[in-house]
Symmetry: C2
DNA sequence: CTGTTTATCGTCAGGCAGACGACTATGATC
DNA sequence: GATCATAGTCGTCTGCCTGACGATAAACAG
């Protein structure tokens, strides 16, 4: 082989696509934008865009995220800044036929964000929305065409990553506002996994895991009922032993 | 933005790099090749190469693997064929400065293979070898320069992926020949995690997990001592509950 | 035959999770 | 204001799994 001869190999376009997940009204939702041009014109797609010349992949993802949602990603490598959205690389998709026009390799990223107001994509409220992932992934049955390109696969991979990762990490707190109650955190797990959890056992588990939650001092009744203690995410990122997802 | 205008964005070179892991003499080892040219001439690096024009990323990784080791990857999407090496995508590395010559985005793949004879890289035995990952990742101390490019980071990520993934999947069997004993499987875990496991508890765990192991019918004494029953990997890919890695 | 090595079966105590009872503190409704 | 509905929080009990470890079995080396 003749390594690194640029002329010997066809150029690739490199993009980032974003799977932005949040929990709204007890459902796991993803951010989708409407395509304004061919191909797949008018269809919903994941937000994304080209990686620029002197830009790292994570930086490109953070930039796209900021452009689409105003969120400032909380890159583990750049701590402190941002309103807490979690960003991580998901996987890379490079099937030669995934884009009919040219060879595009897309590095998908996963973003977990707290519930946000309606998205603002280029100021056009009609061109971006939060949609329940169940709806986006239920293709064919109702005649809806599903997402553009291979974005249904990317979304499915992102959802599966989120579902499994909250098992053994404290990542579920990324779906919550800075201060939250145990019940709110439980509703996150229930929405992401699509199951009902026992409030008492859940409470015992999360409050009994050292470093997972730290008391924030106050209480709230925003969920109704008895006032609940407010917590902040603790420093622990790994949950050991993990929170087990109930079987089916 | 003006999507998909090829001239509007700089072209990227896309490569695949391989983290090929195996267990040799009770140590987790990785395949490295010696670089024949600048930059990093003479240094060890992960095997890899350019993705071709009409080639999927996984196909490129499988091709490079075959060229470097003769292994035929057992892609989950293409079952049956191959001598059982496991291949999966690891992560993508695209720092603008990771290659001093041009913008290269590398899609790293992880390969888990049974113990193999000495590698044959382009027929040159001196240019490829199995090296213990501890040795490859212990940089600076002994003055050795470490791996080329960002390959130390890629290797570290691959090792961490392997270490965590054998916890909750049956992937450790990918390090074993088609038929193996419980003790051989245990030595795989011990080598990958770098810990000692209790043979009795390990035996109880793996034989008690339905679908993990299926008896192959025979016995062997290739490890010495009492003959051990031979097993084959069962159909189960997920281990529930997982095999817990001992603390520290 | 004896010691060494490895495999395999059993036992026991502690920890954790699932099931679920009981009590508490708020707002809503009559 | 009494009652109800809603959520949160604390306990109890039981079964399963794990870690620690004793004991036995089946080969080989001397």
């Amino acid at each position: 082989m003749s390594p690194y001869d640029p002329s010997a190999y066809p150029p690739f376009a490199v993009t980032v696509d974003l799977v932005v997940l949040t929990v709204r009204r007890h459902a796991l939702c993803a951010l989708v934008v409407r395509r304004g041009e061919q191909p797949f014109q008018g269809r919903w797609a994941l937000p994304g865009g080209f990686v620029r010349g002197e830009e790292d992949l994570a930086a490109a993802a953070a930039r796209e995220l900021s452009e689409e949602t105003g969120l400032c990603a909380h890159d583990p490598a750049v701590p402190g800044a941002g309103n807490g959205a979690h960003l991580e690389q998901l996987a890379t998709y490079g099937d030669p036929k995934r884009d009919p026009r040219m060879r595009v390799v897309s590095v998908a990223h996963l973003v977990l964000a707290p519930d946000l107001p309606a998205p603002r994509a280029g100021g056009d409220a009609n061109s971006a929305r939060w949609a329940p992932v169940d709806e986006l992934l239920a293709v064919g049955d109702d005649g809806s065409a599903g997402l553009a390109f291979d974005h249904a696969q990317i979304l499915a991979d992102g959802v599966e990553r989120a579902r499994s990762k909250i098992e053994y990490s404290s990542l579920a707190t990324a779906f919550c506002p800075p201060e939250f109650t145990v019940g709110e955190l439980r509703r996150v797990y229930e929405a992401v996994w699509g199951v009902a959890l026992d409030p008492r056992n859940f409470h015992r588990k999360v409050t009994g895991t050292p470093g997972f939650l730290v008391p924030a001092g106050g209480t709230t009744t925003r969920q109704g009922g008895r006032p609940a203690q407010l917590f902040r995410a603790g420093g622990a990122t790994l949950l050991n032993p993990p929170m087990l997802r109930p079987e089916v």
